[in-house]
Amino acid sequence: MQKAKAFLRYLKLFEQSLCFIAFLVMAGALMGDVLRREFTGSGWFGAPQVGVVGMIIVAYMGVSLASANGSHFRPRFADIVLRRWDDLANRIGELGFAVFCYFLAYIAFSVAYESYELRDVSAVLRWPIWPVQGFIVLGFALVAVRHTLYGIFLELRPLPPESVEGMEVATDTTAADIKDGERDYQQETQR
């Protein structure tokens, strides 16, 4: 479980770094467009499309980040039905989400592969679109891996964030972290 926990930490760092770069590209392209129009009178050709590419990367890499922070929306009113089998229901919920994401990643891969074979390019920038579609595949594949691990090791699941809207800093703490903390605390007090 410790290896899985470390893997998920590195995965989160990778995803957040990628999102950070994509965000810079997105915001930079749009702000550059506005500033250039302000100073030279004409905008930056294709800047909004570059921004859209950045947004797509942020959005689909963010799916896994949302999983890492426990921020996906889930109606909880029906939880009462399986309250007696809480662990089993949670495990099924995690693995079910993983299966759905593997399936979606597979379909998205088929679409990206078709775009690659047909040499589809974007209308404005004339760039091939399959690398950008590849981020949909990568995003859902990483979510699937993450939730497979959560399904196997329920303790690795993140605690719910402080806000459903995700605007606040989500708790970066898992049930396993709390157990580790309790064990450390007990060891400290025994000493």
Partner: protein, 437 residues
Amino acid sequence: MNGLLLAVILIALLILRMNIIVILGVATFWAYYFWGGGELMNVVYDMWDASNREVLLSIPLYILAGSIMSQGSIAERLILLMRSLTKPIPGGLAIAGLLSCGVFAAISGSSAVTLLAVGSIMYPALIQEGYSRPFSIGMLCAGGTLGIIIPPSIPLILYGVMTQSSIADLFLAGTGPAALILVVLSLYAMTVNWSKRGDIWDAGEIWSTFKGAIFALMTPVVILGGIYSGYFTPTESAAVAVLTALAVETFAHKHGFIHLVTGRFGAFGETMKDVSRLVWRVVGDTSTLMGSLFPILAIALSLNVFMTYEQVPGQIVEVMTTFIDSKLLFLVMTNLLLLAVGLFLDIGAAILILSPLLPPMAADYGMDTIHFGIMMIVNLEIGYLTPPMGLNIIIAMGAFREDFLTIVKGVIPFILLMLFCLIIVMFVPSLSLFLID
């Protein structure tokens, strides 16, 4: 038969604790497979088309700007200004809280952030000044909901994307109902706290607090003024909002400009480091929010394309008009449905699921799509205050350490007042549309 089986599967998925992405995704794949010729790749093609839209760029940028602003000292500066302005009015501190929520909402665009940023400062102050706990917490929870109706608002952008309505018009249409709610809540705060008032106005205090809050006050002016003067599109204004937020935090509130002008480059470097750490943190938060919202948006838009192609909304309208023969009955039924949905669903998900279905029906009964959207948002706004899933109740429990019953008792009068406002918004379309050509 397939439809019945789908309903059973969706209920089973709910019981098995699947999230909305899975539930909506299964429904979409099912529709494409059984009723759309079996081409599952079309789901992802439609998701791709849904993602590849410039109009969506404004969502992450407004969220980012709001996050940068809300983590700085803006809330505190706004509250000081509002307190100095409302001091001699009965219930002045409560009104200051509501006004601060209103102005802060115009910056952050989020209900939860508004409640946390303003409430964490105002709640202890209200208690100290002798306001009752249930009133104070109810007022702050209700004030926090203004974040989704005062522009720029993410739910309004989502509604605009789903119904292909003008986002600039939706922003304009939100101002009238937001002002109504603010006035009604303020009058209530004044009435129940008639004996609580402070000293007379102090011009010196007002001027000094105004100077402190000037940059915070300028931000909505720049964003909305830019859109309505035709200077920026809503998407560009979101980029300008990020730039303004960064500039205000770096150069004004963290004194970067003074450090730079006086040649204290070491201190300026420290300021830049602080801002970089802030940006790293808020980009993580914003990406998380995008990641939770975007797949639902893409799948919902994919389902929307399918339903439009198969003329489902038109067929539903036809069926409904045989049962509901008047506009009044339609409005009552729709609002009851939305109130029920608001009890259990997040507002973003509710808009994405219901927007393809309800506005075409409203149009059939002669309602304006923009007016209907505003009514829908005001209705779903009440869901922030209603148990069991009221987001602001949950946040208030955690942030202010109050028990559930105190909060519920506190929000009940505000729910009734907001229902009153909803009825006015529903029956007076000009309140929403008076600013639109």
